[in-house]
């Protein structure tokens, strides 16, 4: 296990080789895009423009981006309710993401899953469920298939720290360890599982230490340092692709807002929130880029304008998309249709063997 590594150490670990400027810029621009998209979703929610709820990862962008940028299309992302934005790094079009938020017929699941639960089969993003640690277990099965099929792909399975309290999570990690599966268990330790602080969740300081119990490497990084997260993730991914097996990667970060849009998060000390806001991963990366002469305010303005344009278009697409037909609720239960079974009832008349009539 290694502990939180500041940016300089990570760069130092890479020796004299400087990171690719384009990569650094991309890490930044994806964080900015995630932030803009989620803040916009929150506004839309408060405006009552979509139903349900949303679980923002604002403040955690370094972890979201660092763990899922540069995956291959066939790599799987198995995320939870707070990983909606991983779709952006994977490449799901924003139009589909907003159609999903709005529950429209054009969304990848045609209006079935809750707003935060967006999957996208063409890019191997599992549609999430609300039961915690379920996706990690399914992800383990996908990793098993990749191994059996001799595919060079990996699974990135993301949970919060709360998931690690479930026996089910441990079943997945153990299984993946036994079979040396190409999966990275990312634990986004944002300090709270809904309202329960991490101190009531686990007795260890670093969750990555739990990896030792399964015989896989465990790494803890500063989850607000996108370069640190990305670098640790690259190592874990190349380990997985090479057949060396699973890694547990803990990213220590912080959730700026409540568990969901209906949670004012009054259980937290405002000073704690302020401290973490002062560690906002986005300005931190701006400073990093500036120190390398890779930064200008104008670039940020252009980038922001471009992202906002894309978001506006996606919202327009979503709002003009058709709503599902009511009886489409009957579709996709099985590989065969249950429509007739549900919509038509045969009624048998007395003493008539063939006397069934439709009602």
């Amino acid at each position: 296990m290694t502990t939180a590594s500041p940016i300089t150490e990570v760069l130092h670990r890479e020796g004299s080789q400087q990171p690719d400027p384009e990569l650094l810029r991309r890490l930044y621009s994806y964080m900015l895009k995630c932030r803009i998209v989620e803040e916009r979703i929150r506004v839309l929610y408060r405006q009552g423009r979509f139903a349900g709820n949303y679980f923002a990862a604002v403040g955690q962008e370094a972890t979201e981006v660092g763990t899922t940028l540069d995956l291959q299309p066939e790599d799987t992302v198995a995320g939870s309710h707070r990983n909606f934005v991983t779709n952006i790094m994977k490449g799901t079009p924003l139009t589909l993401l907003f159609a999903h938020i709005y529950g429209r017929a054009t969304s990848p699941d045609q209006g079935r899953s809750a707003p935060a639960h967006c999957g996208y089969a063409p890019l191997n993003i599992i549609t999430p469920s609300s039961t915690i640690a379920a996706q990690q277990n399914i992800g383990t099965g996908i990793a098993l298939a990749y191994k059996m099929q001799r595919k060079p792909n990996v699974v990135v399975a993301l949970t919060g720290e709360g998931a690690t309290s479930l026996g089910f999570w441990h079943e997945a990690v153990n299984f993946a360890a036994v079979h040396k599966l190409p999966i990275i268990f990312v634990v986004e330790n944002n300090g709270y599982a809904e309202s329960v602080p991490v101190s009531l969740q686990t007795a260890v300081e670093d969750i990555s230490i739990k990896a030792a119990g399964y015989g896989i490497p465990g790494v803890t990084v500063d989850g607000n340092d996108v370069v640190a997260v990305y670098t640790a993730m690259r190592e874990a991914i190349s380990r997985a692709r090479s057949g060396a097996g699973a890694t547990l990667l803990e990213c220590k970060t912080y959730r700026w807002y409540g568990h969901s849009e209906i949670d004012p998060a009054k259980y937290r000390d405002p000073a704690e929130v302020e401290y973490w806001k002062s560690r906002d991963p986005i300005p931190a990366m701006e400073r990093n880029l500036a120190s390398r002469n890779l930064w200008s305010d104008q670039w940020k303005q252009e980038l922001t304008a471009e992202i906002n344009r894309e978001v506006d278009e996606a919202i327009k697409f979503a709002e003009s998309s058709p709503k599902p037909q009511e009886d489409e609720a009957l579709d996709h239960v099985y590989s065969f249709s249950i429509r007739e079974r549900e919509l038509k009832r045969k009624v048998w008349s007395p003493r008539s063997q063939m006397g069934a009539s439709w009602r």
Binding site: D109, I126, T140, Q149, V333, K346, V347
Partner: protein
Amino acid sequence: MTYIDAINSALHEEMERDPNVFIIGEDVGRMGGAFKATKGLLDKFGSERVIDSPLAEGAIISSSIGAAMAGLRPVPEIQFVDFITPGMDALTQQAAKLRYRSAGTQTCPMTVRVCYGGGVGGGLYHSQSNTSWFIHCPGLVVVAPSTPYDAKGMLKAAIRNDDPVMFFEHKKLYRSIKEEVPPEDYTVPLLKAAVRRKGTDLTAITYGYTLQLTLQAAEQMKKKHGAEVEVIDLRTLSPLDTDTFLESVAKTNRAVVVHEDNRTLGIGAEVSAIIAEQAFDCLDAPILRVTAPDVPLLPAAAELERFCILSVEKIAAAFERTLDN
């Protein structure tokens, strides 16, 4: 061929036919399964396709779900349905909903083989039926073949089906009955009930092991009362083939549902409700259910078990009450 050999033969043939089919479960490899259903598979197909899993039902089922999503055809084995509870989230919230929650873009062609049923002194954790837990989950297909012929043909059909299938095998069927099973490839379609005995006076509806008891009770009715009981084997418990038993009830005007699971919200409750809704005018007598009482199943001592388990006598008594009405 016995039921267990029919299962074993289906597994051998399907694994030969399709390299995507694999087996995973506790003791399925080196030991060939607690009941020897997977005998010989490890030697023939190797440890990558016959996986002795860690002792973790949640991981057995979840890893099967993921593998199925990624294009494989897993056939996990759960030794006893009594042990399936750690895998309940995986089955009821993941496997059952995956197709639905992704609008058909993510699917789970998995066949979970589960051993169920009592009458062998297995006690509270080796005797249950619990089919209703899964019948209550749209998205899961629940089947319970009652004969060796069906066991082989339905297992093959289940493995080739694109839905998650819960495949219930009664442990008393494994070695108690034999019948001719074709050595060649065949399938028995899912979702279709079978008429196992023709009759005109009463319709008995059952599945799995209790079909044997029901057929014996039907013979008693013929001998004692000259009454002809029509016996329907549901074969698939969800989604139900309702037409087969409704057509029969429309003809016989009497119905008895027989199952080994608890009474409340067992399949008998559903079948009775469907008959009441769709063939009420055809009935000449109240629908009766012959089931286990609503106690945890099954107490270990022989006397207690005998009270709870079904018998030919209990079924025959219900037939007589219905015929007397």
